[in-house]
Assembly symmetry: C2
Homo-oligomer: 604 residues x 2
């Protein structure tokens, strides 16, 4: 198994040249985000990820979290690594300083989260869930809830969970049945929740469950759901831990991957009802959830990117050490490293180009989140929020789908060794497969993009984005070289396909919403594919600019010419090999609906 090395040069480049962290750092409240601080944060996070978390990834997978006599035991090393992580202050990075957070931008947090997820996705899921609890409480918590829980969730001393799913209520959260009954100042919660990530574990002294439940007099469906804070241990007035609450882990799931992450069935109220307090208003639970959804979905998208990066590193390492077969051009020279074979190179380029496009989209979305939160101008904030809302389902679904595909390519590159668990490639393939499912399946993301994001503003946010892309295209016209030419052509065709499909969908959504919905998934894929190409083009243009500035080729100012030269080449690869899929995806959207819906149920 290859270790993990945070791709710092690439991360810095995307943060600077594509996500424009400099502009984010200029927003009020983010002034501390100096280049020196960014450098220090990335370097230190890379060390923790590579040296502490990554070495536990495979052992954690083999050992798994186990459920023994009502207790969940995480794998060896888990608790110590978590301590390390908390003591480094890492958990507090993006949260409000008011509650002990460092208040750094989400743009920077995205790069750091990518590292945790690359190093050890099963481990990094725990903080990902805590993040959701923190965001809910930051916005919707009472003063008392904030005072009691936020500092210790922000620091990571305690961890958080999201209790949404029930056996009959998966994608349709509104179908949940868990009950909450008023009991004096608090509520009594009774019911069963499934798929609760880190619902029980042994790496922190308390677990704060955010639980969706229904009050006795609540309206049906999503409008009758309330959100409750239900701690594993009740907290006394002095902040110390009191009695055990009436909730327990009933079992852990046996999953395809992320074995070390305990996925619990949680039983609330076996003994009269778990004690919880209301977060937000009664029956406003779903609205509260929307608060954290964008960040949570960005984080899951980052998992797709992260596992793809890790799989790429592993495959590249193998391609650079495995000797097999002579090259096509010089068969007489005997066996060569497989990186010399054109077909292997195609696999590596496909992985590399897609990973870079994924990263560019993830960081760009994070930067829009920061603008939406901090921009001094209300109109700019609203525009940024519209951009975030539009890009979030794409970031979640496109990145996690590609995460699986890149992990699969990485496995394939290893030949027979890829199928052997010791190699490590298979674990990425298994771990990656959850990300298109949780935090809203990718099918749900596609419907969200179509029915909430596109239809709600009649395509306005999308048109804004397309106009920006057209401006980039126009700017590319001024740049020389065949890479730019190929990029321009690929992007032009891709953008035309995206605009066509968008127009068609907006019309179909009004006339025949089911036909529109039948095209939602290929549309999201089209969206991601074209936006990814656009962002790679931005990177390529920036790289050419830097190279041009380094006129005498001296590589002064730490400029890495080989790295920068790879940018337009990689973007060209994407334009010639991946962007041509755009018209095919648009065809599936615009022409494929009738045949998708034509069979009777019994004809399947």
């Amino acid at each position: 198994m290859t270790g993990y090395h945070a791709p710092l040069t690439e991360m810095r480049f995307v943060l600077e040249a594509v996500a424009r962290l400099d502009r984010v750092a200029a927003l009020p409240g983010y002034e501390e985000t100096t280049p020196e601080l960014v450098e220090a944060v990335l370097g230190e996070a890379g060390r923790l990820a590579g040296e502490v978390l990554a070495p536990l990834n495979q052992t954690g997978d083999r050992e798994g979290s186990r459920f023994e006599n009502g207790v969940v035991r995480t794998p060896a090393g888990w608790a110590a690594a978590y301590q390390h992580y908390v003591e480094g202050g890492w958990n507090a990075l993006p949260f409000d300083p008011e509650h002990g957070g460092q208040g750094l931008p989400w743009t920077l947090a995205a790069a750091v989260q990518e590292m945790w997820q690359s190093a050890n996705m099963a481990f990094a899921l725990c903080p990902l869930l805590t993040q959701g609890a923190v965001e809910l409480l930051q916005v919707h918590g009472t003063a008392a809830q904030k005072a009691t829980y936020l500092p210790r969730l922000v620091s990571g001393e305690w961890t958080g969970t999201m209790n949404l799913t029930e056996p009959q209520a998966g994608s349709d959260v509104g179908a949940l049945k868990t009950r909450a009954v008023r009991d004096g100042e608090h509520y009594r919660i009774t019911g069963q929740k499934i798929f609760i990530t880190y619902g029980e574990h042994d790496i922190a002294p308390n677990i704060i469950h955010m639980v969706l439940a229904r009050l006795p007099d609540a309206p049906a469906g999503t409008r009758g759901i309330s959100l409750f804070l239900v701690p594993k241990f009740l907290v006394k007035a002095d902040g110390s831990l009191g009695q055990r609450n009436d909730l327990r882990c009933a079992s852990l799931e046996h999953k395809l991957g992320i074995h070390a992450s305990p996925t619990a069935v949680m039983a609330f109220g076996d003994d009269g009802g778990a004690i919880g307090t209301l977060v937000g208003e009664e029956n406003q639970g779903m609205a509260c959830m929307f608060t954290m959804m964008n960040n949570a979905r960005l984080s899951v998208g980052l998992q797709g990117l992260a596992i793809a990066e890790r799989a790429y590193q592993q495959a590249l390492g193998y391609a650079r050490e495995r000797v097999q077969g002579a090259t096509i051009e010089n068969p007489g020279d005997g066996p060569a490293l497989i990186i010399a074979h054109p077909d292997v190179r195609r696999m590596l380029m496909t992985m590399k180009a897609q990973v870079e496009a994924m990263r560019a989209l993830a960081y760009t979305t994070a930067a829009a989140l920061d603008r939406a939160k901090r921009h001094p101008d209300a109109e700019a904030r609203a525009a940024a929020q519209a951009r975030v809302d539009l890009l979030i389902p794409v970031t979640k679904a496109w990145l996690t789908d590609l995460g699986c595909e890149v992990a699969s390519l990485g496995l394939q590159l290893h030949g027979g060794m890829g199928y052997i668990e010791e190699t490590g490639a298979a674990q990425y393939f298994r771990d990656a497969r959850i990300a298109p499912i949780y935090e809203g399946t990718n099918g749900i993301q596609a419907l969200d993009l179509l029915r909430r994001k596109l239809a709600r503003d009649e395509g306005e946010a999308a048109r804004d984005l397309f106009a920006e892309m057209q401006r980039s295209l126009a700017a590319l016209r001024g740049l020389p070289g065949e890479e730019i030419k190929a990029l321009r052509e690929g992007l032009q065709q891709g953008l035309a396909s995206l605009e066509d499909a968008t127009g068609w969908l907006l019309g179909a959504h009004k006339d025949s919403p089911a036909r529109a919905a039948a095209g939602a998934s290929p549309y999201l894929r089209l969206f991601g594919t074209v936006v990814g190409g656009w962002l790679l083009a931005q990177g390529a243009a920036a790289a050419l600019e830097r190279l041009a500035a380094d006129e005498n080729g001296s590589g002064q100012n730490g400029i890495d010419r080989a790295f920068l030269r790879a940018k337009p080449i990689t973007a060209r690869f994407y334009a010639e090999n991946i962007l041509p899929q755009a018209p095919a995806l648009a065809a599936a959207v615009m022409r494929g609906a009738d045949s998708t819906l034509a069979l009777a149920d019994e004809q399947f």
Copy 2:
């Protein structure tokens, strides 16, 4: 977990209408293949697959084959199921009657093999390997080898293995180091082999290893490889088992999937050399291997189809019982079966259309194999062999790639439940992943298609196929209906892309073979995609013909109108949603090579 039900209606239809089993049955030697026999064979095989093999699939996966004190133990039920299979005479189905085979066509055997692989891929691998040994001995064995080994391999009483791979010799078999030294009438074999499927097990009394090794005076590379028959137990003159040979299983691999199939590291000659006899001529081992390669690759392609079919059945079963969310069109009606949701329907249609295209290609290739073997006219035999040689790498690689993709879609359709091992969908996803790797990785298949199949005859066999496809297209022009129109358009564009890419590749292969090789994988995908669409169109046309013949709509003669009506609809879905990928794949072939090869090794 859903069980397995052999899709008999569909299998019969593809055998009759697409692979034209009637024509195969008319070949000399296949006269016994009457419609009644076919019906009986399919029905009985379906029962064995569904009732005996399928129930062991998940338990076998959980238990796995274990290596204990030098002994390999297969999962509970394995030995009895294998007995059942052998006693039913199933192993003998396609082999020469001279050695106890039933001499039935490979076309029929393909359908039967599909069932075994759908029911229990880890189990069915054992006969798949025995098949290879039988074919080698049928053609290259000495009279004594045939007499001693063939009857018991044909019946399945003994099993066979292929010992090719060594740690340094994977795709490059020529790099192998296992030694063979002449020792009187036989040879002494010494060396280590890896990835030996069913290299050791407890379900048959003897295992016949076909081992590639190198004689002391052999030329380097593939021209110095010889093939040996090395039995686990030496066989006495009277046919009874004699002493244990000097070979052993050193360990079993821990794999991503096919847990029940023991993948052995085999050690030959720890104690002076395992006794083997030569098969074929000295240094002609690789040539011998080519004898069985086409059938073996077809069989692995069938695994891709089989696992896709099983994943589809599982997903369809879930879609028909899982209630979640209201429909888009009637939200007031409350929760609906998920099969009603357009996005779920897209997943099901994608699975269904691809499975049908895969099956059509697999059976068609098998029919070509039968013609190549049995056609009375030498020219027709040669033409059929050229077709086989062309289609085999496509059948192997395209079907196994799609097998993984369909299994992944099937998992996705289950939402969170798909990630839980108990559900069963995850096992198909894991099991399917080996098929693109073994029996020549899919990258190797793509290079085979380009460098051996296409370049060797300068595209002649390909042009023959394209001409046949053009004739089908012309025939479609006479048929009515919008499904046929969509099919015609999709196919026309697809075929144009395929012809363009073929022409480009033939030129590039001469001028710059590395650039051609860089496009080999997308070219194979393009080839499979278009040929699959062509075969679906044939099925659609045949279905319309049958429907037209059933004028009064009475469904007499057992005609299943709903099934037949689904054919053109499914083909149209394929034409509108999948065939549009053809120009994108052609672009990757024709324009993508330069950027694929442009980076220096250190720029990755």
